[in-house]
C-alpha cells in the first residue's frame, strides 16, 4: 500500500506533461499542431518499416497505401520546413527594440509563409500520391 502511495505521489509531484503533452496544441500557434503531427507520423512510419524490412514486397493494401502516402508526404513537407528553420532561414533576426507586448518574430514573420508553403507542398504531394495509389496502381 505504501509503495503504491509513493508511486502515486511521484507521478503527481513530477507533474510532467507526458506523451499527451505533445498534443496539447489548442492554446498555442499552428507550429505546435505541426509538431504533434510530425511526431505521430514519424512514429507511424517507423511502425510501417518493421514489416517493410522483414519483407519489402509487403504493402498495407489499397487504402493502407493511400494512408501511408499521406503520412509520409506530411512528414516530408514538414521536414523540409524544419530543416530550413533549423539552418536559420525564415526565423527572423533578434530585435533591438521591442514593443510593450512583443509577439515573437520567429512565429509571426516569414515563418507564416514557410508554414503555408509546407502545407501547400503536402497537399500537392498527397494528391499526386493519391492519384498514383488509388488509380494508377489499382488499375495494374
Amino acid at each position: 500500500m505504501e509503495e503504491a502511495r509513493e508511486e502515486f505521489v511521484e507521478y503527481y509531484a513530477k507533474n510532467m506533461g507526458g506523451v499527451l503533452g505533445w498534443f496539447k496544441a489548442r492554446v498555442y500557434t499552428i507550429e505546435r499542431w505541426l509538431y504533434g503531427a510530425h511526431r505521430i507520423t514519424g512514429i507511424l512510419i517507423v511502425l510501417f518499416m518493421l514489416p517493410h524490412f522483414y519483407s519489402t514486397g509487403w504493402h498495407p493494401g489499397l487504402w493502407g497505401d493511400f494512408i501511408l502516402g499521406i503520412i509520409v508526404t506530411f512528414h516530408i513537407a514538414n521536414g523540409i520546413r524544419l530543416i530550413l528553420a533549423e539552418l536559420g532561414f525564415a526565423v527572423g533576426k533578434p530585435l533591438l527594440v521591442k514593443k510593450p507586448s512583443q509577439r515573437p518574430v520567429s512565429l509571426e514573420g516569414s515563418q507564416r509563409y514557410l508554414v503555408a508553403l509546407a502545407l501547400l507542398l503536402f497537399i500537392v504531394l498527397a494528391v499526386i500520391w493519391a492519384y498514383y495509389a488509388l488509380i494508377v496502381q489499382a488499375a495494374t
Partner: protein, 288 residues
Amino acid sequence: MSTEVKEYALPPEVLEETVKASEELWKPIKKVKFRIYKYNPKRDYAPHWEEYELEVSKGMTILDALLEIKGEKDHTLGMRYSCRMGLCGSCAMMINGKQMLACQTRVIEAAGDGDVIELRPLENFPVTRDLATDFSAFFEKHKTVKPWIIRDEEELDNPTGPYKQTIEEYARYYQFTDCIKCGACLSACPTAATDYEYLGPQALAQAYRYLVDSRDDGLDERIAVVDVAHGCWRCHFAGSCSDVCPRGVDPAQGIQLLKGLIIRRKFGFRPHKPTEALPAKIAKKKEQ
C-alpha cells in the same frame, strides 16, 4: 534667497475625472469562479480541485484575486509571487491551460466570455505545493550552459582595451537578455513533457546569447554543452516557448539560430562574423 513651497493641487474637474476613472476600474462588475489545483505532496494522496467565487473588477489581476482568496477564503493556498509587475518571474502558472504571469493577466481578459478560471501549477515542473513549483532543476540547466562571459584570466588581470561593441554586435544578443527565468517556456515545451533531461528553451536561448556576444571566448566550451543528445537537437520548433514568453525573448528563434551556428561551424564556415571592436581579440587573431 528663499524658496517658496507652492501647494500644488489638481484642477477640480481633472481630479473628479481621475477619481471617477479609478472607481470604475475597481468597481466589482462580474462574479468569476476560480478552480484551483490543490496538492501537497507531503500529505495528500492525489491532487484535488477547489472552487472559490469572487467578485472581480476591471483592473483586477489574477494575482490580486489569488491574494484575496488567500486572505479571506483559504489561507492554506500555496503560491509564489514577489514583484507584482512582471519583472521577477515568480508567479508564472497555467491560466486556463496556458502559461502566463499571474501579475500581468487581468481576470476579465483571462475569463473572456466565460466565468470560470482554471489555475494549475506550471507543467513539467515538480510541484512543491498547490501553485508553487520546484525550480532547482531549471536553474541547474541554466547553469550548465555557463551563462556568463568567458575570457582569459590573463587578459582580465591586464586588460588591453575597453570592451567596445557596435550596435550590430549588441543587436545580435540584446533580445535574449530580457529573460526573467519564469519557466513558462520550459513548461510549454512539448519536448520537455517527455524528456526530463532536455536543457529547455531558456537555457539554450541563453547559450546562444553568450555564444554570439562579441566579448565572449567560450565558443568551444559552450557548444560542447548544447551539442549533445539532450541539447539543442531535441527542439523541433513547436514555437510554444516563444508563444508564451511574457517578455518577448523568443527562445525558439534563439535555438534555431544556435543550431544554424553549430551546423555552419561543423562544415567549417565561420560561426559568426569576427568582431572588429575588440583590440585584444584582434591581437590574438593576428598572432595565429
